[in-house]
């Protein structure tokens, strides 16, 4: 049995490494993801977001928790339910809203759509639609780290439906046979578009990990600290030469696949159950008990998003005259840069020792 659900005593030592500021930052990032996506949805309804609109409502803990465990020199491939990871890495909110609206100020300058972006200067590779192609790109980055003997790791996310594609297997096998410092975060949100897991696979995909020679763990995807801690453990192992980890985060897609999808195919009681486990509500309660002012945070974030929306709306549409530029790189190839890594552990030598 490959699966192990972290027991409290596993979580605790990790939690001991989180300062109140860290916790506030975790909540802030989840709130920023939630409120940014809500705003983007409004802009979409107003006809200001072209194409289709995808969000990660209810899955905020998965992208925020995992990204929060990454060091500046680590590299990420961020997927379509993971806006929180962009936020953690330091992408400015205004650039995210401009991205949805196809403005010149967006991360891709209007070249790619909605969630198909990544800020290379912050160590992120933008996803492509074909799922889960980025698993191989993440494995390749990890391969380079290992070949150069660097204590860094790569991480990517993907949904449970994506595990049916051949690239899942090729990436898992590559990571296993070469013992790569890579972390695969499997977001099991119960559905792939309208397809339930029963039509996707016979056995929970976390069970595959053992047959590739590495560990598969299952965590509560709606508990941001649990996700963070499992990822932190996986990163420690990875940079120490212990190889890859498959982390399955159990969660639920609370909205339709995209804005047009009314989710008629999802049993209401299932949504009901998960609505009671909203990751932001859960964490808000917890931090309030710890004396952290969650309300203030929410107000701050709302103000940030208001300002970001104004900036994004002020950003002009891209210039068609330059539409053919950049199909090829004309200058030097510039590798990915370092990202923002807010966890205090990266600053505090003792704590970071635990993770580095």
């Amino acid at each position: 049995m490959a699966t192990t659900t972290p027991r409290p005593e596993d979580v605790l030592p990790g939690s001991a490494l989180l300062s109140d500021d860290d916790r506030a930052e975790l909540l802030r990032c989840m709130l920023l993801m939630r409120i940014l996506e809500e705003r983007a949805m409004t802009l979409y309804r107003q006809g200001k977001v072209p194409g289709s609109f995808y969000d990660g409502f209810g899955q905020e803990a998965v992208s925020v928790g995992a990204a929060f465990a990454m060091a500046p020199e680590d590299r990420l491939c961020i997927l379509h339910r993971d806006l929180g990871a962009h936020v953690v890495r330091g992408v400015a909110p205004a650039r995210i809203l401009a991205q949805y609206m196809g403005r010149s100020g967006g991360v891709t300058g209007g070249r790619d759509a909605n969630v198909h972006f990544g800020d290379a200067s912050l160590g992120c590779v933008g996803m492509i639609s074909m799922l889960p192609d980025m698993m191989l790109v993440a494995a390749g980055m990890a391969m380079a780290f290992k070949l150069r003997g660097e204590a860094r790791c790569a991480l990517t996310w993907f949904g449970e439906g994506s595990t049916s594609r051949g690239d899942f297997h090729e990436a898992m096998n590559w990571a296993g046979v070469q013992r790569l410092p890579v972390i695969f975060v499997l977001e099991n949100n119960q559905y792939a578009y309208s397809t339930p897991t029963s039509a996707q696979f016979a056995v929970d995909p976390v069970e595959h990990a053992a047959a590739y020679g590495f560990e598969g763990v299952t965590v509560d995807g709606n508990d941001v600290e649990a996700v963070w801690d499992a990822t932190r453990h996986a990163r420690e192992k990875a940079v120490a030469g212990g190889g890859p980890t498959l982390i399955e985060a159990m969660t639920m897609r609370m909205h339709g696949h995209a804005a047009h999808d009314d989710m008629r195919y999802v049993p209401p009681e299932l949504l009901e159950h998960w609505r009671g486990r909203d990751p932001i509500d859960l964490y808000t309660t917890r931090l309030t008990e710890l004396g952290i002012d969650a309300e203030a945070l929410r107000e701050e974030v709302t103000a940030t998003v208001d300002a970001a929306a104004a900036d994004a709306l002020a950003s002009p549409m891209p210039d068609p005259a330059r539409v053919r530029d950049g199909v090829f790189c004309e200058g030097e190839a510039v590798p990915l840069g370092d990202g923002r890594a807010p966890w205090s552990g990266w600053r505090d030598p003792d704590r970071s020792a635990a993770a580095r």
Partner: protein
């Protein structure tokens, strides 16, 4: 005759053929309860049941490969790629297994691959591609691309009945924008070209969504009489119809929405340059999308896709040549 959208005609053709031939089944991602990303198979699960309307795992190589297997033991799978872009993930099974099977061992592979293709609605680089030329360059695959509801139904039925693997390109931007009269019942449209409008001074050769662009762009173009040839089928390519149109008009604009290099339009232009050279009164003009991924933002996307204006411009210049 009933009036249907292009999308409705595709559903109608598929439904009619499934009623007529129980060997036909549809398979793909979300084609069952959800009725397909574009609702082409809406209601099919209720009418035909889960054995003939199959929600598959998220795996395009699997969809094509298992369809090939099912076809060689007597079924007639119709596979839906959720977007034609994703066929790249099943490319090897389609090109190497399906395409080469009959030539190698005289074993027929009667499968149809439905490919919702094309841009024009801010789909971005991965939801707007026109992959047909890749398959024109892969021996053993047929390729059809209807522009009207009537042909969408007839070519789909023809594709299903064809004993070979057929790539059926259905243009997403036509789904609900185009309506037309569609004959009742099941009928197969031959894989040949069709004159969309008669003319004498110049011919625009196009297929799929670009047929409408061509018609609009050349509508009463300063009194000139412009023919529009709708290829409908790219493999087989109706060479005779193309050469006849050039013989008649002597001036030709080849129009397609795909990236320019090595596109269907390149093949048509090369064919004309070799076999109709003496009939030409001017250069073979191509209008296509430049070699860039299809950008998402509306001003960028409309700057690359062939527009009514660009086509009209090209025709004007050539007429004045």
């Amino acid at each position: 005759m009933t009036v249907l959208t292009y999308l409705g005609a595709i559903s109608d053709g598929l439904r009619e053929e499934m009623r007529r031939d129980e060997r036909v089944l549809v398979m793909g991602e979300d084609v069952g309860a959800f009725g397909g990303a574009f609702k082409v198979t809406d209601g099919f699960l209720d009418e035909f049941g889960p054995r003939r309307v199959m929600d598959t795992p998220l795996a395009e190589s699997g969809i094509v490969g298992t369809a090939v297997g099912a076809s060689v033991v007597g079924l007639r799978p119709v596979c839906e790629m959720q977007f034609s872009d994703f066929v790249a993930c099943g490319f090897d099974q389609l090109v190497n297994v399906a395409g080469k099977m009959h030539y190698r061992q005289r074993l027929a592979v009667p499968i149809t691959i439905r490919l919702p293709s094309g841009g024009g609605f801010s789909g971005g680089p991965f939801h707007s591609q026109n992959p047909e030329a890749w398959f024109m360059h892969a021996p053993g695959l047929k390729v059809v691309a209807p522009s009207t509801p009537e042909d969408a139904k007839g070519l789909l039925i023809g594709a299903i009945r064809d004993p070979n693997p057929v790539c059926f390109l259905e243009h997403k931007h036509l789904y609900r924008r185009v309506k037309g009269e569609v004959p009742e019942g099941a009928y197969a449209t031959p894989f040949t070209a069709r004159v969309a409008r008669e003319g004498e001074d110049l011919v625009v050769i196009a297929y799929g969504a670009m047929v409408h662009t061509a018609l609009e762009a050349t509508e009463g173009l300063e009194g000139a009489s412009v023919e529009v040839l709708d290829l409908r089928s790219l493999v087989p390519l109706d060479e005779e119809a193309i050469l006849a149109a050039v013989r008649k008009c002597s001036k030709v604009v080849v129009l397609d929405e795909a990236n320019r290099t090595c596109a269907a339009g390149a093949e048509v232009a090369a064919l004309i340059a070799e076999r109709a050279w003496e009939d030409l009164d001017g250069p073979v003009v191509r209008v296509a999308t430049p070699d860039v991924p299809i950008p998402f933002s509306p001003p960028l996307e409309s700057a690359v896709l062939p527009s009514v204006e660009r086509v009209r411009e090209a025709c004007r210049d050539l007429l004045a040549y």
